[in-house]
Assembly symmetry: C2
Homo-oligomer: 243 residues x 2
């Protein structure tokens, strides 16, 4: 039977999502737990996509196949009892045997949090500590340039070689409350460092270091990617995956 799960994690103490030998990873912890649940059988888990070291998830998804017969509620409990405190399974469901958590995903939402007030030791791993004012109006004006379909190659890590960098951003928003700026992007897919590079440019626009029009310029001239600074991982959350 194929199962789809929704889960959250605190990325702070993981070497990213993807399994790596000798490193503590979210995927590695899941495969250890699934080995126990699935009658001591190696069980692979397929997520909607990896997240980088330090990035958090509020609603990551993944699928896997189990040979054992287990109710959805018991599966949730078994996973949560075997997984460490910094991963939590929110829900479990049965899906078609052809369902794939990555390929069937139609929309993802990422959130990025920035503290523009005093440094917070309590949120240092959960909100990017920028600790200086940002002009949210300028950032909001710039944000619109990301909307719609674009070739995002200039915003993607050079390590990530793709045949096609065209993605569509369907929604974006920026809100501020109590010195915390929250930027959200919804789209049909995001590539390595894409959100952190989009946020990095917005921060430079908000600080006055780059003009509002720079995003259009980068889309039109790949060389202008040199103006991009990748925003730090700790402010980023994979918020939701839709099927």
């Amino acid at each position: 039977m194929r199962y789809l799960i929704k889960f959250s994690y605190d990325g702070t103490n993981f070497s990213g999502y993807q399994k790596q030998p000798k490193e503590r990873t979210v995927e590695g912890e899941f495969e250890k737990a699934l080995y126990n649940i699935n009658n001591h059988t190696e069980t692979r888990i397929y997520s909607s996509g990896r997240t980088d070291r330090g990035v958090h998830a509020l609603g990551q998804t993944a699928h896997f196949d189990l040979e054992v017969d287990i109710t959805l509620y018991k599966l949730k409990c078994a996973l949560n009892s075997l997984l460490p405190d910094d991963i939590h399974v929110i829900s479990t469901e049965i899906v078609d045997k052809n369902f794939h958590a990555r390929y069937n995903a139609v929309e993802k939402t990422y959130i990025y949090k920035i503290n523009v007030g005093e440094y917070s030791p309590i949120f240092r791993n959960y909100i990017y500590q920028y600790n200086k004012p940002l002009d949210i109006k300028r950032m909001n004006d710039a944000l619109n340039s990301f909307l719609g379909e674009h070739d995002f190659k200039a915003f993607v890590s050079e390590e990530a070689v793709k045949s096609n960098y065209v993605r569509k951003i369907t929604k974006s928003s920026i809100t501020a409350s109590d010195n915390i700026i929250e930027i959200s992007f919804t789209g049909n897919g995001f590539m390595k460092y894409q959100v952190r590079n989009m946020v990095g440019v917005l921060i430079k626009i908000g600080s006055g270091k780059l003009p509002v029009g720079i995003i259009e310029e980068i889309f039109n001239d790949y060389e202008k990617r040199k103006f991009i600074t990748t925003a730090k991982s700790e402010g980023l959350y994979l918020s939701e995956v839709k099927y």
Copy 2:
């Protein structure tokens, strides 16, 4: 010169506030930093009061004496550069040589945060993960019983032997938003475990395990302290100290 500082810390990785041999404590970290700032002289720091292991602070205060001449801004920078990431000095000021951070405090505010929704791996060390519904109306009705002057002996750790357990609570509130309940108490002083025991009783009232009137009963009959469960440390924040 005597200095008063306001600071915040993440209590997660400290063995409490108070210095102890071989343990990582907030006080210990401050005294290491002050030793460097104060010309390699042992420098004691006097806080408004200790906090227990796992308890956080948004606005703790402390005073100390320095022999060196340093501006307030440089003192803030020097402390923040020498202190670890999980402590942050918010402000520095000069006070009278007779000022005492503990004895001159007239009012303190504590906040306690409870998650009544799904377990959050991200906030596991910053919000108590109760993860079940609570009747906030019952808790709010009960809260009033704490207001005013009372002998809080039944709500204080038996380890804390005092000559006088009478304290005054001047303000209290309970709010709920997005499955997070926040309880706040302001008063002229709080003793060991007092807030955590007050919150512990409120949680039992909210869950229906204890009647709303139990607080009055405990005030009137010390033996009824047996109904109290101490709420966990990670939900508690020392929010503000007033002089």
